[in-house]
């Protein structure tokens, strides 16, 4: 789950990290009032859950409250990477001398958090990481001990932070690490971390992504969850214990088990088609599960055929087949279905499906080819 900049900054401020004075605004009037209260110049920043706001024109500097109003008018309602901007954050513009980068995330290979610090912060940190990885200093604190003072010091020396900023940056690194731990973040990032003309250090931006698996113990953060329009289906699926990801093709996919569903998506692509979604219904696949899964997949108007790929394990293939048959009889779907059963009692399941108004195939590859063929046929009247 992603937090907005203003939410992340509040958490940083609570941990004692210096941030510019700022206010939230949802209208141009509010933005003007915020600018007046804070004192110009201000930065007016779109609050959306995507990166690259600056490059997309979502951040404007205003020299007066009137300019802040115009900036907010221009930014509110604009779309950045498909997301509509509904809020702006108005904050005091910093007197920037230099931009640093500071971030904490997971290093999967080492199974430790990694703290990264660089003196070349700003918009293109990903490119720096790619082209000049040596310009980013890294440290791997023990999850049992946290980021120790000597580790933070080593980082500022390794990154080549100027003498005057060493202590404040090391201090901010330790505080950011504690935010990362206390919020169960998967990413805690300050980019840029401003060094101002007077030498003081200030968080210019803040990004905080929270581990969804930890929301049960982060009730305050869980309340901040925003479901955008294209995530509504994903949320609905999650409530049913499914895992759904919208894709841009026309073959709907239903399967049990993440790996099996991924392999099904691959088989569809290998057969020359494009999957409309990823939908993992989890372990079993009884009747009501198949019914709700079909509802979710068919809610996407682009779907032209549906491929159901179920491995019968603890839930046997014949039970799955009965479930699918019941659904097809009581709620005939608007597009053709192809089902492929494997595993325990798969043959018995296929025998049951023999006379039904759906395509049954024995292998994943054949089923994928059939689903792709049906998706490219003209729509039935």
């Amino acid at each position: 789950m992603k937090l907005h900049e203003f939410q992340a900054k509040q958490l940083l401020a609570r941990a004692g990290i210096p941030i510019p004075d700022g206010r939230m605004a949802t209208t141009a009037d509010e933005a003007e009032a915020a600018a007046r209260a804070i004192g110009a110049p201000v930065a007016v920043k779109a609050q959306v859950h995507v990166g690259g706001r600056g490059k997309a024109g979502g951040i404007k500097v205003a020299k007066s409250p009137a300019e802040a109003r115009d900036a907010a008018k221009a930014i509110l309602g604009m779309e950045i990477k498909g997301l509509r901007v509904e809020k702006v954050y108005v904050e005091r513009a910093a007197q920037v001398d230099r931009e640093l980068y500071l971030g904490v995330t997971l290093d999967r290979d080492r199974r430790r958090p990694v703290v990264m610090l660089s003196t070349v912060g700003g918009m293109d940190i990903e490119e720096v990481a790619e082209a000049n990885p040596e310009k980013i200093a890294r440290g791997w604190p023990s999850p049992l001990l946290g980021l120790l003072p000597f580790e933070a010091r080593s980082l500022v020396f390794a990154a080549g932070v100027s003498e005057k900023q060493r202590d404040p940056v090391a201090d901010i690194a330790r505080r950011l690490y504690s935010v990362y731990v206390e919020t169960d973040a998967s990413l805690a990032e300050i980019n840029p971390l401003f060094v101002q003309k007077d030498g003081s250090v200030l968080a210019g931006d803040a990004k905080l992504d929270i581990d969804d698996n930890a929301l049960f113990r982060q009730p305050e953060l869980a309340k901040l969850k925003e479901v955008s329009k294209d995530e509504e289906t994903e949320e609905k699926a999650r409530a049913l214990g499914f895992s759904y990801v919208q894709l841009d093709g026309d073959v709907g996919i239903i399967g049990n088990g993440a790996g099996l569903v991924m392999a099904t998506l691959d088989a569809v692509r290998d057969a020359g088609g494009k999957a409309a979604n990823f939908l993992d219904v989890g372990g079993g696949a009884k009747e009501e599960v198949v019914r709700s899964a079909l509802e979710i997949v068919l809610a996407n108007p682009r779907v032209r055929s549906v491929l159901i790929n179920i491995f019968g394990g603890i839930t046997r293939g014949d039970e799955v087949a009965r479930g699918v048959l019941d659904v097809v009889r009581t709620h005939p779907p608007r597009v053709p279905l192809v089902i492929r059963l494997s595993g325990t009692e798969a043959e018995a399941g296929r025998r049951l499906l023999a006379g039904a108004p759906l395509g049954s195939r024995e292998t994943m590859d054949d089923a994928a080819a059939e689903a792709v063929r049906l998706a490219t046929q003209p729509v039935r009247a």
Partner: protein
């Protein structure tokens, strides 16, 4: 011979709830020695004929359990794993889905100084066909033999075991390492166990997009491989930035792509199947060489 589990495996169940008791019964049906379960406050009683204990340490003292299987819900899973590690259990298999990453970082940090091997979480467990099953896999799809099998998936593992079994290729031990980004026994370590197991003649490695465990496994096999291996990667068609069901299955930037994994295996001389159905044929060809 086999790895991780055999006829002498003595299993303790942590979390004898609905799922735990269902699978404890299936494990017993398979012939696995289920010697006890923990249920704080119910020590000294039994449930479904399984003796209950208040703590893991007590259970180990009374039953000589050397393996535990964890079914407890995600908020309490870290505590359960740490309790088993603290009691000196040799092998902990965690089935639980949805454990916070921060908890797993603590558990794996403790593992660094312990002798316990942790498999999972968020996986189907492990099975040495014909000897012991400590997991939730449908046993019908597995058969004894010489193919060692490591996988990040659940049902895809059963599917491939089923294909191998139908092709007459039995399995030495199948290890479902789990679909989370931080797990106890990552793919390269599981591959190493099978590479050093005399009963394993060939290794099947089933990976997914996300992370670089497959690349590291390929590198290990290139340097130290003693037997043929075949690989399969799920998620070749997945777009970047989308988490494909498993928390660990995500391509971020150019990290964790299927291309990188396929290339690593090919460079290590390990053939990569395009579909699960190709795996038995590739294993047979690899064994003939």
């Amino acid at each position: 011979m086999s790895v991780l589990l055999d006829r002498d495996t003595r299993v303790l169940v942590q979390g004898l709830g609905r799922e735990g008791s269902f699978h404890a019964a299936r494990m017993r049906d398979y012939g696995t020695k289920v010697v006890g379960a923990t249920k704080p406050g119910k020590g000294g009683t039994t449930q479904d004929g399984i003796p209950l204990f208040d703590t893991v340490a007590e259970a180990v003292d009374s039953t000589d359990a050397n393996t535990s299987i964890v079914f407890v819900p995600a908020p309490y899973a870290m505590d359960a794993m740490l309790e088993a590690i603290d009691a000196g259990i040799d092998l902990v298999i965690a089935i639980t889905e949805g454990v916070p990453v921060a908890d797993m970082l603590k558990v794996t940090a403790v593992l660094e100084t312990a002798t316990t091997i942790l498999v999972g979480p968020n996986g189907p467990g492990a099975i040495t066909p014909g000897q012991a099953k400590v997991g939730i896999m449908p046993a019908e799809n597995f058969s004894p033999g010489g193919v060692g099998f490591v996988s990040r998936s659940g049902t895809l593992t059963y599917e491939i075991a089923d294909l191998l079994t139908r092709a007459g290729l039995g399995q030495s031990t199948c290890i479902g390492v789990g679909g989370d980004p931080v797990i106890g026994l990552p793919t390269p370590d599981a591959v190493r166990l099978l590479n050093e197991d005399p009963a394993t003649e060939a290794i099947v490695i089933v990976g997914e997009i996300g992370g670089s465990a497959e690349e590291r496994a390929a590198e290990y096999m290139r340097a130290e491989g003693k037997k043929p291996a075949v690989a399969f990667i799920a998620g070749r068609s997945a777009p970047p930035g989308k988490r494909m069901g498993h928390a660990g299955a995500i391509v971020s930037g150019n990290q964790g792509t299927a291309e990188s994994k396929v290339r690593a295996f090919e460079e290590a001389g390990i053939p990569v199947a395009n579909a699960p159905s190709e795996i038995p044929g590739l294993v047979k060809r690899a064994l003939r060489r």
